[in-house]
Symmetry: C2
């Protein structure tokens, strides 16, 4: 089963679907050529662990297609998801030898990896990469802080609504047609993964989803296919006043 279907693994940067959003977004042709030298693609199946916390990491890279999670685990097994990695998101930390979190593919996934040492060297000579990475890291920090509010102060129902809003918004931003109509998407997470993201149990997640469905805030086809008839209504349920701020 290892040879699952996947995109062409010898993709040229110029044709890359995340060319304009990833860490390489600002690079010129010359810099892209340099990156081509040190890059390679790796594909993972849904459920596979990409990196184990504490392991030595000899690469950094970007998610090209698919979705992964960043999770932290306590000795007694309690786990907290600390990040959701979508296409163009960056994995790994320049200057650090060991991985701080588990990275797990929740769908089939393709990563564009750079050998760590050459990438670090290149960062020193290529301000555009360092600048872009700073910008992305600042965005992630904002997202983490927004999530702290969700974890610390929101009710279970608000947490679910917040998660659906985030997934829906991100999903919409990846699609071409940002139609003003209904928002429709597939949940990329199991109930258990949602619980790990929200600091809840999977039973509470299930109950609150049922409740939102009963109240007409969401519609479900199967367990995963979600329709949001009224996005503003969902935002109200999430406890958000405005339409979500500027940060993706």
């Amino acid at each position: 089963m290892l040879g699952n279907s996947h995109p062409d693994l010898s993709l040229q940067c110029g044709d890359c679907p995340i060319r304009h959003r990833a860490v390489c977004a600002r690079c010129d042709e010359d810099e892209l050529d340099q990156l081509e030298e040190i890059k390679y693609y790796r594909s993972f199946e849904a459920g596979q662990t990409i990196v184990w916390s504490g392991d030595r990491m000899d690469f950094v890279g970007s998610v090209v297609t698919g979705i992964a999670t960043l999770t932290q685990t306590m000795e007694d097994g309690r786990t907290q998801m600390v990040g959701l990695l979508l296409p163009s998101d960056f994995v790994g930390r320049p200057g650090r030898a060991m991985a701080a979190y588990d990275v797990v593919a929740t769908t089939d996934l393709v990563m564009c990896c750079f050998r760590k040492k050459p990438f670090e060297d290149m960062m020193l000579h290529t301000p555009r990469i360092a600048q872009r990475l700073l910008e992305m890291t600042l965005d992630e920090l904002d997202a983490a802080r927004e999530w702290m509010l969700v974890l610390g102060r929101k009710t279970a129902r608000e947490k679910i609504a917040s998660l659906l809003a985030i997934i829906g918004r991100r999903d919409a931003s990846l699609k071409v047609s940002a139609g003003a109509g209904q928002m429709v998407f597939d949940l990329p997470l199991t109930r258990e993964a949602m619980a790990d993201y929200l600091g809840l149990t999977l039973e509470t997640v299930s109950r609150q989803i049922s409740s939102l469905k009963r109240d007409g805030v969401i519609e479900l086809a199967g367990k995963r296919h979600v329709t949001i008839p009224d996005f503003d209504r969902l935002l109200e349920e999430a406890g958000d006043d405005n339409d979500g701020g500027l940060v993706a």
Copy 2:
């Protein structure tokens, strides 16, 4: 009351107490001279708001002395602290016009401010500043993610222990003598501020502190002066296995 006692507000960078830890840590003499051009000091009293969320920000800067908090507030008044700013920590985001959070001084505080536009310009020509800022931002991201685990998965008692461990460790790292003996420090936060950091109510904070005191995990002199007789014991109570990892 505005003219409270404060350090010399015409400090030279070379004599700055955070010279080796702040965003300017890697700058050479020449770069420091440039920074001197665009920098100015501002002092605040305990309780003063330094920045209001949503306000236009025309500066970025570093905390020189004192402690500030970064908080987010929902319409209905629920608040969540999303960061604790200690000396050398950076405030503001290059490239963003509006403040995303409230910044409040919890003690008397001095900030070294840089006018935003000149600072942004300088970042483009001064890789050492951009590199240092990236490094600091990555550290903050790690801290935020560690805090997500605290907020999402720890019990009230573990949350208090985690907070005391963090404050104790940071405090120790600022002192010269990292004596192996007892850890002693003053809490820089009210019970309410601790509650806002931990996603609890102030009553629960108070109860858990009393409980930790009863059980001999901590000793209290007054409401704020804390002694930790056995730091490993505190870490056990926090649910942390190792001695806290490498990140400050």
